[in-house]
Amino acid sequence: MPLQSLDIVRRSATTQPPPGVRAAASPSVAKLIDTSKCIGCKACQVACMEWNDLRDGIGTNVGVYDNPPDLTDQSWTVMRFSEYENPSGNLEWLIRKDGCMHCQDPGCLKACPAPGAIVQYANGIVDFQEENCIGCGYCIAGCPFNIPRISRRDHKAYKCTLCSDRVAVGLEPACIKACPTGALVFGTKEDMIQHAAERVQDLKSRGFEQAALYDPQGVEGTHVMYVLHHGDQPELYSDLPKDPRISPTVRLWKGIAKPIGLALMGFAALTGFLHYVRVGPNETTERDEEAAAEARKRTEEQTKRPAPPETRPPGPGKQS
């Protein structure tokens, strides 16, 4: 666990705070993806494979440029291509580098039941610690962006680490290194927001009136941000959610339901104990036995035959 090089501020399924006496040395970081500069060369995908030693299997051509067609445990970033016909009838090729958005309020971390399997560093990076992962897939249910993938090989969850190992030693993520057009930039979140503002201004001057920075506040902002020419319609970019937030179902399940549920179970057991102390056991007394014997005798006298059930031949149950 890289507790020494990167300060952990949040840890999945942990009630006590992580070590926090050291002031966070690292500022909040962000990767900025400028979709207006992306040419879809997939150099970032290759750099990601190289640095992280990932080799996805050779897939099948499904007739689109997306290759592989989806994120996998071996492909932590994928270029998604969408052909958009704009209102003036022209084709726009909207290419989006998909991958973990590194939410400030990560749904995966909230959903994860395994202590320390998902952590968030002081610089904002959300990282999976596979040695603690139990493979339940709750992170998949928790993620508003459909990013984590469970490996069929080891049943652990994987996703983009934002090259936390590189960032920890002052390097930029591998994908940034490889981008030939400068569509990918990395720095402090503050700097990236400022850089994005310049890009947005430039795009607006070129006729993209709705150009905007994508830093969704529903998840308290992300540490991977986009500059979009059509900032008002993020769905155009292969269904980038307009207002992503942790699903209310997940919030209910992983929020109040957990402590209240557990407390009520304990309360039920306690109620039983207190009832026992207050009312006491429900015992069968001698009087009940006598009453029962009396009742049996009466029955025998009425029916004028001795102990009917015992003289009845054995057979299957008496069920009516």
Binding site: A13, T15, P113, A114, P115, C133, I134, G135, C136, G137, Y138, I140, A141, I150, R152, H155, S247, T249, V250, L252, W253, A257, K258, G261, L262, L264, M265, A268, A269, G272, H275, Y276, V279, G280, P281, N282, E283, T284, T285, D288, E289, E290, A291, A292, A293, A295, R296, T299, T303, A307, P308, P309, E310, T311, R312, P316, G317, K318, Q319, S320
Partner: protein, 234 residues
């Protein structure tokens, strides 16, 4: 009397026909019913512990009983499935005695008398009382909910066939059903401790006539008469 009882007892080793008076005790559960019940109970405890480990961080340590987190995740669905199958068997054995009647609803409405040990004020109870029958149906509903929702997010086998929003709802339904079932079983266990003689009924299979007279009088009459006092009412 004892010779007659002995004759019945030797019909099959370890198995005595139920609802008979033998040696002054009433056979409430056959060996088969008892074993089925305890298999369900054991499976429930294992399923609940492994499930709770994944439900709340405070009890994640329950996973040590199953060989750690990943093993807990692997075993839990199989234990759950086994519990459901064993419960189906148990339910088939007891379902005919678990039909709700008007008297059962009256019994439930008088829950204050039930909890206050004032059984003399309650309507006569057959083989099972209203609370036991209610428990039976709550368990069925919860187990159906747990089975269906559990399969939906069972990795790696079935979750891949369902969309993420469906999986989210399934996880929530699973947690709610598990919660209700655990509470129901806590009540069930406490009732067994509270009503003396109940544990013996499920371990040895026997209850005293006085126990039957006090807690299940209609059933007592049925057993001692050899006839059903109110057909279909128990």
């Amino acid at each position: 009397m004892s010779t007659q009882a002995g004759r019945i007892e030797t019909t099959r080793v370890g198995e005595r026909p139920r609802d008979r008076v033998i040696d002054g005790a009433i056979v409430r559960y056959t060996a088969g019913e008892r074993i089925t019940h305890w298999i369900v109970a054991l499976a429930f405890i294992l399923a609940a512990l492994s499930g709770l480990a994944m439900f709340h961080r405070a009890v994640f340590w329950f996973s040590v009983f199953f060989g750690g987190g990943p093993w807990t995740r692997v075993l839990h669905p199989f234990i759950g499935l086994f519990m459901v199958l064993a419960f189906v068997l148990l339910a088939l054995l007891v379902q005919s005695d678990n039909r709700m009647s008007a008297a059962d609803w009256r019994w439930l409405r008088q829950w204050r008398d039930v909890l206050g040990n004032r059984e003399e004020r309650l309507p006569e109870v057959g083989r099972y009382n209203g609370g036991q029958k209610l428990l039976f149906f709550v368990q069925i509903l919860c187990l159906v909910g747990l089975l269906v929702s559990g399969i939906i997010f069972w990795r790696p086998y079935f979750a891949i066939y369902f969309s993420i929003p469906v999986i989210r709802i399934a996880a929530l339904v699973h947690a709610i059903c598990a919660f209700v079932l655990i509470i129901a079983v806590i009540v069930h266990i406490y009732a067994g401790i509270w009503v003396r003689g109940s544990v013996r009924a499920m371990t040895r299979g026997l209850v005293s006539p006085g126990w039957a007279w006090k807690h299940h009088r209609a059933w007592f009459r049925e057993v001692t008469n050899g006839t059903s006092p109110r057909p279909g009412a128990h």
